[in-house]
């Protein structure tokens, strides 16, 4: 393994030589058109000559050192010829130059290793369409999300993530949500325990993609997996504890998640994750397990299962309460060329207060995306069949069944901005039989 110091001395000498060449070029450019030099230039020229002489001396000194090292390493050969008489002044200059370089090196390294501040990241998007992508009753131009997240560099084991999202509601008012506030302890590469408000780990989309539209190749998430205040039927956030990690197994990796937190409740038709705790003390939780292929022909493929349960009540009079049990699986094929995702959710909900028994529902989507040189075209089909006698879905504003077909494309303008187009047709299948088509354009950035 090469660890020679002589090569590094060469770098230093090279750097000195480069500085000298730069000094040599600058005064020459300052010569007047008449060929005369003013006194300052003459003085600089003298200094330049002195510098070059010093460089020459240093170059000679390097050669001497190289010759000495070569002689020392060649034990079988006779000692090298005595070097030329050492130049004491050159030696001291060389040492001074090396010390200075060492100092600069240390300063630079410590500067780059320092905490240079709090990393602040964010996403934003705007768009225009025949319908608002979240609320189809609205049309025209819309302001999407302005999302900030902070990921401070802490100690070796402590991690933190805070995400604040500003979004425009259907009535045009701007609201601010603390979407994520989680602090975690990373025991090792296999286990991290988070506490706080986090993305509930079910399926793939809810944790891999989130509030930033730029991060998503498609223009929007599947309708039933939208966030709570956008009509989603699953609790996208949980406030509680989350143990997560992965470990290599075979040619791939096993990923796991276990979590428990405050049971969500429904207020005004919207799931609420009870940030400050709930009054009834009920808890929900779940798990996710996946295998990610890291080599071979299946590289990029991930297969997983997930389950979630919670006792979820609402604020109706009298109040409903449902033991929600959702479980299912997902598959993802994510490579340099493909981004294909499929998720399925099966519901087996039990009516606790109303005594209407158990209600079964299902929801799912399949999406194909291809990373072409010019963009990412995609196609998605999504469908829900939600039992309307289930008090859980009946209480949710977005609890109606539907199916949607969407075709779209993403065009990256640069590394931080993208334009997305989507054509979609949505058919509502139980609460109303409405059908509508959409043409949507979105401009999304990250910063």
């Amino acid at each position: 393994m090469p660890r020679t110091t002589m090569n590094f001395s060469r770098y230093r000498m090279g750097a000195l030589a480069l500085v000298a060449v730069a000094i040599a070029v600058l005064p020459s450019a300052a010569l007047s058109a008449t060929g005369k030099q003013d006194p300052e230039l003459a003085e600089m020229q003298n200094k330049l000559d002195q510098s070059l002489q010093m460089i020459q001396a240093l170059t000679e000194r390097v050669r001497e050192l190289e010759a000495k090292q070569a002689a020392a390493t060649a034990a079988a050969t006779p000692p090298a010829a005595p070097p030329a008489a050492p130049v004491v002044a050159d030696n001291s200059r060389l040492e001074a130059a090396e010390q200075k370089l060492d100092q600069l090196e240390k300063e630079n390294a410590s500067r780059t290793a320092d905490d240079t501040g709090l990393p602040l990241h964010g996403f934003a998007d705007v768009g225009v369409g025949t319908h608002n992508p979240i609320n189809p009753a609205l049309k025209g131009t819309y302001v999407g999300n302005l999302d900030f997240y902070l990921s401070p560099r802490l100690g070796d084991h402590t991690r933190a993530l805070f995400e604040m999202n500003t979004e425009v509601g259907s009535d045009g008012t701007v609201g601010v949500d603390l979407e994520r506030a989680q602090i975690g302890y990373q025991f090792n590469d296999q286990a991290t325990l988070w506490v706080g408000r986090y993305h509930t780990p079910y399926g793939y989309v809810n944790t891999a993609l989130h509030h930033g539209s730029w991060i998503n190749n498609t223009l929007r998430r599947p309708r039933f997996l939208q966030f709570e205040d956008n009509g989603g039927i699953m609790p996208a956030h949980t406030v509680g504890l989350w143990l997560t990690g992965s470990t290599h197994v075979g040619g791939g990796k096993v990923l796991y998640d276990f979590y428990a937190g405050n049971s969500q409740e429904i207020f005004g038709g919207v799931l609420d994750m009870r940030n400050a705790g709930n009054t009834n003390g009920h808890m929900g939780g779940g798990a996710r397990l996946a295998y990610q292929f890291s080599s071979g022909t299946a590289e990029g493929l991930m297969l997983g299962v997930h389950a979630f349960t919670a006792r979820i009540g609402d604020n109706a009079m009298p109040a409903n309460a449902t033991r929600v049990l959702a479980y299912g699986g997902y598959a993802v094929y994510d490579t340099d060329q493909w981004e294909d995702i499929a998720e399925i959710y099966l519901f087996d909900d039990r009516d606790i207060n109303g005594g209407s028994g158990t209600h079964r529902s299902n929801a799912g989507f399949v999406q194909f995306g291809y990373r072409a040189t010019w963009g990412v075209p995609y196609a998605r089909y999504e469908r829900t069949v939600l039992e309307q006698t289930d008090p859980y879905f009946a209480a949710l504003e977005g609890g109606g069944s539907y199916h949607r077909v969407a075709l779209g494309a993403r065009f990256d303008l640069d590394l931080k901005s993208a334009v997305k187009l989507e054509l979609a047709n949505t058919r509502l299948t139980d609460r109303s039989l409405e059908q509508y088509s959409e043409g949507l354009v979105q401009y999304a950035i990250r910063f």
């Binding site: 660890r3 090792n188 340099d336």
Partner: protein, 148 residues
């Protein structure tokens, strides 16, 4: 095989000092070390014990510890294209995208970026847990984890 110094040509001198500058340029070119342009060395701080098979995971944020040592990888802009192609095996755009998702999902921060081999070596030598990569023969004071 042509050496780097073969490429150092001396233009017609315009100043008396130019021949000396040209000599220095030749010396500078010769100082590029014994490594060929095809060599890529992954180097770590002396306190790091790492397998070459772990390098990819380190640079995509999947491996954060080597034993009890917290790893602090850094990218080297001067050698990043070769590194991404040979070791991480993703395009530069995909690498950026991976880290953006990782950062947004897990709160992890992407590796800082160094501008040159010299700056990279200085960072690795001085920073416990640091790992990076260079295209010149690594000097003493760092551990070579692998040559790609």
């Amino acid at each position: 095989m042509r050496s780097a110094s073969d490429h150092a040509t001396c233009p017609r001198p315009r100043l008396a000092s130019r021949p000396r500058a040209c000599l220095l340029a030749v010396v500078l070119a010769g100082a590029s070390g014994a490594a060929t342009a095809a060599d890529l060395y992954v180097v770590c701080n002396a306190n790091v014990t790492l397998q070459s098979s772990d390098v990819r995971d380190v640079f995509i944020g999947e491996k954060s510890f080597a034993g009890s040592t917290r790893l602090t990888p850094a990218d080297n802009l001067a050698a990043q294209a070769a590194f991404l192609q040979r070791v991480v095996k993703v395009s530069a755009d995909r690498y950026t995208s991976l880290w953006t998702k990782k950062s947004f999902r897990d709160g992890a921060n992407p590796p800082p970026v160094k501008a040159s081999d010299a700056e990279t070596i200085a960072y690795v030598r001085q920073t416990p847990g640091a790992c990076s990569y260079v295209q010149t023969t690594p000097p003493a004071g760092v551990i070579v984890v692998g040559k790609f």
